[in-house]
Symmetry: C2
Subunit: 430 residues, 2 copies
């Protein structure tokens, strides 16, 4: 960890900049960067990095600018245009590096806020109340984006620059495919380690599950309800398939009890029917129903094998439904085909981060096992660099009244500054 | 019935005009007069009547032009503007009437066509193949609209005019509220009888069930699926309520076994969850779900009592769902609040129609008991005029490949011309 004086200097710098950091965070929370609509916020990030005066070289490119579809770990993009999905990489290069290079990456896409009337504060307001900032993305993970930007700002304020290349990246598609992270790697960005400041509440992510997205499409034969017994109700057939997938999930969770990392969690495989659409008219038996689903898989489980298992469960259920037996439902893979990932204990990067955490928080850095996916898999599994998922504390990811704890965010920002200082080394700002 | 010579003259006129009638029908089928978008077809009808040269006085007005909301049998209009929902009444008045006046009414609204790829012929194409015309509304009930228009045309071609006032009406909202029919009555139109040429396949409708429309609104607490056990899945809660309403329907059908008119039908009360929408994101537990439903009621059953029974069934089911118990679902009455109706046997109007049917088809006119609603209830129950529901033959109401049988349509047109001739009397065209 940095020496005590350096740490105090960095701490003072984080403190001095924190009002600006909170304003920065509120500003990016006020950008409703929903999937397919992230570009204005990426424009904002581009301008912000370029205007810092810290010598960032800023690269802004879309997923369509790289050959993403050729990569075996790309996920299908449906209902969204890769050419409109921009990534931003701000490179702070070191002329004569003496330390280890670092990628710090945060996603700026957010999930839909749901019915606005169920929020206490406006979902894109960035309201601060009693030490928390509220808003969709305030926690997942614009808080972390602010931490990475202002960890670097702390160095600058303290009169330092990293003694190795640092690449700050804001990406899209973390919530749906991971293709934003993949695009930065396909663009060629590499480093000796990667830190993703997802809001882990100051824990290091030891393992995350993978995620599959699929859309079930049921077609029925609509008739006037007056003769409903001769028609098929696609909505009810959809429900039949959901029940079958719930049973499939129970089987997967029974098997998960033997897993090295997940045996301690109850039902780590989560199945979620997240969106449903079906039918056109109250008085017509519905002709169609589509259900967008998400299911998890354990680290080490094969994505393709789990896809086939879902398809098999759906096909088996269809055989027990009079209508579906003759009109097989379609399973479309419309997003995440994501592996799980384990950050094997013992890496140098993790040790340095643990030191930095201890320096900032005065406590050990706990590990967590999560049932949600994150982007570290790309760096850790496919591009052979240690990938740390560690960041600030908050509540309500994907929920109403999502919020981040500002005091914790400040300390996390210091921990990240200390990590950069140790991993990359410091040199005096020119 | 008309004397043999008159009948032959009318038959020849129907035959002579039939190519034009088929073109007329194809033309109106090609107007996609879905709910809220009927106005262009009503404009077309307005022009058609006005341009006939048969002395029609044409009145075009919207539901908002009458005090519809004050009427106890108006149904709520949700998601559609009454001011944009136009009715057309073409009045063929008789200077010195000697016969009985008549309203002939047809609805021109159609239900959604569903996925177009499931149609053999384009849903708004009006394709004729092997003696059938295909298209959404070709059967329900633009065929009947063509029959009423060309029954009157047959009189004109044969050199006659009705010897009493005849009001041809094209209305909207038959498929959702009935407020179009109600608006014509509130506008003041009355007659000694009403004929609605719904596609009954040459049967007289003895009884129809009523219909209630309601929207169930479920609100849930979304969370990241990683912690799905702490959230509520609004889609699954929605299905829980559907199942409860299916059970409620079974109870209603048990009681229906004692009904005077419906005891012979198996399960005459139809419940249909027709539209479902819910959730925003595959990886968020859905925060909301809305289900648009339709349920029937028997003639004589009280609409308000059946509404309360639905609400009670939903509330009882909500109590057995952990989430819904604390977040009661909402039931919104968003359309039909329609009584059932029985055309009591023995009316003079029905006897005259039966004669006309026999003259045209050479067979008795059977009666049918239907589990679908139609507009006759307004005339028969609330405005005290005999209301006959009788019309052409077809298939696939509310379904794919909806079609009308053209030869049957021609004969039905003759039967209707004969009915007008007998009910209203004839006089020579001036």
């Amino acid at each position: 960890m940095p020496d005590k004086t350096t740490l105090q200097t960095l701490s003072a710098a984080v403190e001095a900049n924190f009002d600006e950091q909170v304003r920065f965070l509120a500003d990016i929370v006020r950008h409703p960067s929903l999937r397919g609509r992230e570009a204005p916020l990426q424009d904002h990030m581009y301008r912000w990095f370029a205007g810092r005066g810290f010598g960032y070289t800023v690269d802004r490119f879309s997923i369509a600018d790289v050959r993403w579809q050729d990569h075996p770990k790309a996920s299908p993009m449906v209902d969204v245009d890769p050419a409109g999905s921009f990534q931003v990489v701000a490179s702070k290069r070191c002329a004569a590096p003496t330390g280890r290079s670092l990628i710090i990456q945060g996603h700026i896409d957010v999930v839909p806020e749901g019915p606005a009337e169920m929020w206490t504060y406006p979902p894109y307001g960035g309201t601060v109340k009693d030490g928390w900032m509220y808003g969709r993305g305030a926690h997942d993970m614009k808080s972390g984006v602010s931490a990475m930007c202002f960890a670097m700002e702390a160095l600058r304020t303290a009169g330092f620059a990293p003694a190795a290349d640092v690449f700050l990246q804001t990406v899209t598609e973390e919530e749906s495919t991971g293709n934003g992270a993949l695009a930065t790697l396909l663009r060629g960005y590499r480093a000796d380690a990667c830190l993703i400041p997802e809001p882990t509440g100051g824990t290091i992510t030891r393992a995350h599950t993978g995620t599959l997205w699929f859309r079930i499409k049921v077609r029925g034969v609509p008739v006037h309800v007056a003769v409903a017994q001769s028609g098929s109700n696609a909505i009810m057939s959809g429900y039949h398939l959901i029940q079958a997938l719930q049973e499939h999930t129970r089987e997967l969770n029974r098997a998960a009890r033997e897993d090295q990392w997940y045996s301690g969690l109850q039902d780590p495989i989560k199945f979620n029917p997240g969106i449903i659409r079906g039918g056109d008219w109250a008085s017509s038996t519905p002709a169609w129903c589509e259900i967008d689903c998400r299911i998890g898989l354990l680290p080490g489980q094969d994505v393709a094998a789990q896809q086939r298992a879902v398809e098999k469960a759906v096909a088996a259920a269809a055989k027990t439904d009079n209508f579906l037996a003759n009109n097989p439902p379609e399973v479309q893979w419309h997003g995440f085909l994501a592996d799980g990932y384990v950050l094997e204990p013992g890496s140098e990067a993790e040790a340095v981060l643990a030191e930095a955490h201890r320096a900032a928080f005065g406590a050990e850095m706990p590990a967590r096992i999560t049932t949600a996916v994150n982007d570290t898999r790309f760096y850790g599994l496919y591009f052979d660099m240690p990938a740390l998922c560690y960041g600030p504390k908050g509540e309500g990811a994907h929920a109403f009244d999502e919020r981040t704890h500002l005091e914790h965010l400040k300390t996390t920002t210091l921990a990240m500054a200390a990590f950069i200082a140790d991993w990359c080394g410091l040199k005096a700002l020119e």
